[in-house]
Symmetry: C2
Subunit: 359 residues, 2 copies
C-alpha cells in the first residue's frame, strides 16, 4: 500500500494581510522559520519519501506549480472551483484509490509551520501505521502550550488496547471562550485540532458515502471517468461539470464529527498555525531588543516589534514598542502585536471604502 500526503494548498485568509491577499494566500508566503521558503514548499519538503498530492483551486494551480518546481505532474490535483475541504479530500481519495486501491492518505494543511520536522515525521509515520492496521481515521492532536481560543479542540478518551499512544476522540469542539480554554489546558483531555488526519482512501470514501452521499455520488462518477479510456482528462471534465454543485462543507463538519472510530495521536513538534503576524515571534529569532525583523529595516529605541517587509524596501521604526509593522507590495499595516488578529477589521474596511483592489 502506497502512502500519499495530500497537501491542501487551497486555503485563503486575511489574517496575514497585506502579505496575504485574495490572489496570494498565506501558503505561498515565506512565513515559516526559513525566510527563503514558502509555507507550502516547506510543507512538501517535510514529507520526505511520502508521495505528495498537492490539491488547490484551479485558479491557484499556476502559483502552486511555480512554488514546487521539482514535483512531477501527477503530484498536482486541481479543484475546478473551491468547495471546501470535504470535497477536495474526496476528490483526492478518488484519484489515489485509482492509483492504488489500498492507498493510505495523510491530509496535511499547507500553511502551518513545524519547528521539529523529525518529531513531526515520527508522528506521521505512526499515524500511517495505525490508519492502515486498524482501519480508523487518525487525527493528530497538538499538545496545547497555552489556553488558545483561536483553535478547535479534540476531546480524547481512553487509549486503544495494545496502543497506549492512540486515544479515541470523543468529541470535536469548536473554538472555546477564554475560560473554557483554560479549563481545557488544566484538564489535559483536550488537544488542538491541527487539521491533519490519516486514513485509507477506501475508508474515507466510505465515510463520505455514509455522511455526504451527494458528494460521494459525484466522486464515484469522477472515479468512473478516471477508469474510462479518457483517463485523467475525462475525470477533470467530469469534475468540472459536477464540482460546482457540491456542498461547500469542511471535512471536520461533514465527516469527522460524525464518523465513528476516530482516534488521535499526540503531536508535540513545534506546531504553529501562523495565524497572525504576532505568531511570527513564536519561532523567528528576535534581536536583543526583542524585535522580530523580516525586512530591510532600521529600528531605533524600538522594542518587541514584529517588522516585515519586502527586501527591496526599507522600514524605519523609531520609539515604538509591541507593534506589528508590515509592508508588502502596495500596502502597509500598523497594528499592536496584542491585537494582530484584528487585521481582519482593516481588510473588511477596505471593502467599505471601495478599496477592494488592495484586498
Amino acid at each position: 500500500m502506497r502512502r500519499f500526503a495530500v497537501v491542501l494548498a487551497g486555503g485563503s485568509g486575511n489574517r496575514l494581510w497585506p502579505a496575504s491577499r485574495v490572489d496570494r494566500p498565506k501558503q505561498f508566503l515565506a512565513l515559516g522559520a526559513d525566510p527563503a521558503s514558502s509555507l507550502l514548499a516547506a510543507t512538501v519538503r517535510r514529507l520526505g519519501s511520502l508521495e505528495p498530492l498537492v490539491v488547490a483551486g484551479a485558479d491557484h494551480m499556476e502559483q502552486v506549480r511555480a512554488d514546487l518546481p521539482g514535483l512531477p505532474e501527477e503530484a498536482f490535483l486541481a479543484e475546478p472551483v473551491g468547495r471546501n475541504t470535504a470535497a477536495a479530500i474526496g476528490l483526492a481519495a478518488v484519484h489515489l484509490s485509482h492509483r492504488d486501491p489500498d492507498a493510505v492518505m495523510g491530509v496535511l494543511p499547507a500553511d502551518h509551520h513545524i519547528g521539529d520536522p523529525a518529531g513531526f515525521r515520527a508522528v506521521v509515520d505512526r499515524a500511517f501505521e495505525v490508519a492502515a492496521a486498524r482501519d480508523v481515521i487518525v487525527t493528530v492532536g497538538i499538545v496545547p502550550t497555552r489556553a488558545a481560543t483561536g483553535f478547535g479542540y479534540l476531546e480524547v478518551g481512553a487509549t486503544l488496547a495494545g496502543a497506549d499512544d492512540v486515544a479515541t476522540v470523543t468529541r470535536f469542539v469548536e473554538k472555546p471562550d477564554r475560560a473554557t480554554a483554560e479549563q481545557y489546558l488544566r484538564g489535559g483531555r483536550h488537544l488542538w485540532n491541527g487539521g491533519m488526519f490519516f486514513a485509507t482512501a477506501r475508508r474515507l470514501l466510505a465515510e463520505l458515502a455514509a455522511h455526504m452521499p451527494d458528494t460521494h455520488r459525484a466522486l464515484i462518477e469522477i472515479g468512473d471517468a478516471l477508469k474510462s479510456p479518457g483517463g485523467t482528462a475525462a475525470a477533470a471534465a467530469t469534475a468540472a461539470r459536477l464540482y460546482p454543485d457540491l456542498p461547500s462543507i469542511s471535512i471536520d463538519y461533514g465527516v469527522m464529527e460524525k464518523a465513528t472510530g476516530v482516534v488521535a495521536l499526540r503531536g508535540d513538534f513545534g506546531w504553529h498555525d501562523v495565524g497572525s503576524w504576532a505568531a511570527l515571534a513564536d519561532y523567528r529569532p528576535a534581536d536583543p531588543d526583542g524585535n522580530v525583523v523580516a525586512a530591510t529595516a532600521v529600528l531605533c529605541d524600538a522594542h518587541r516589534n514584529v517588522v516585515v517587509g519586502d527586501p527591496d524596501r526599507v522600514i524605519a521604526v523609531v520609539g515604538v514598542d509591541d507593534l506589528v509593522v508590515v509592508q508588502s507590495g502596495d500596502a502597509v499595516l500598523v497594528i499592536p502585536r496584542q491585537r494582530a488578529e484584528e487585521v481582519r477589521a482593516a481588510v473588511a474596511a477596505l471593502a467599505e471604502k471601495d478599496l477592494t483592489r488592495f484586498q
Copy 2:
C-alpha cells in the same frame, strides 16, 4: 524700483524622510494645506505681482523648473554648487542690481506653509516699503504661538520713530532651551526668525562687502561678467569658476547678526515651517478621531495619528494612537507623533547599515 522675491529653493533636510530624500528635498513635496501643490509652488503663488527669482543648486534646477512651469527663464538662478544662503543671496543681489540698480529684494524660504496668504502679503508689502524708504534690512519676526525650541529668535527693542510697527532687532538668538523659550514667550520681546528679510540689493551687497569681503569680491567679478558682452552666460561661467571657493555660511551668521540697522516687522499669518511630520497636524484638517490623513488609508479604532502615503498605495492603521505613519516610495516610517523630529536618527541609522540608497 522693481520689487523682486528671491525664493531660496536650495534647501535640504531629513526631518520629513521618507518623503524628503537627498535628491528630493522638502520644498518639492506637497506638504502645505493644498495636497496638490508643492511648498515651492505654493510659495511662488503667494508672491502675487512680485517678480520671482528662484535660486537653487544646479543639480535641483530641473526639478525647480518642472515644479514651476509658468515662470519665464529669467526667474531661475542656479548656484553652481551649494554654498549656503549668504553666497546664494549675494548671487541673487548681483543679478537683480544688474536688472535694476535700485532693485529691492525680499528673500523668502521655499519650504514653509503660510495659512493666511493675505496677511502675509500685507506684511511683505510693508517690508518692501520700509526697506526701500529707510535703507534698512527688514526681517519678519513670527509672533510665537508656543515656547518653541526648534527655531532661532529675534530679540526686538524700541520701535522706529514714525513707524511704530517697526522695531529694531537688538539680537539674533540661537535655538533656546525649553526654559529660555518659555521665558521668551512670557517676555514678549522675542519673535521667531522665519528666515525672511527685505533690503535693497545695493544695501545687501554693501553688507556683504563689510562682513564677507571675499565673497563680495567674487560677486563683483560675476557682476562685471554680467555687464560684459557675454552677459548671463559669462556670469554663469565666472560663477562656476569662483563659487566653489566661497565660504559656506548662512546669511544670518555671515551678515544679519553683524549688520546694523536691522529691523523687524511682526508676522502673524499662520506661519508653519513644516519642520516635522507632526507639524502637518497644525494646519491639515483632522477626521473625527483626530487623525490627519494624507493617504489612501483605512483606520480602525485609531486616534490622533498622522498618516501620509502615496495615493496608489494603501495604509491600514488599527488600534494605535498618536503615531506618525508615512509611506513614500520604497520606504515606510513609524514613529510617535511626540518624537517625530527623531526621524533623523533613523536616517542616520540607514547610513550605518549601508542603506544610504534609501536616504
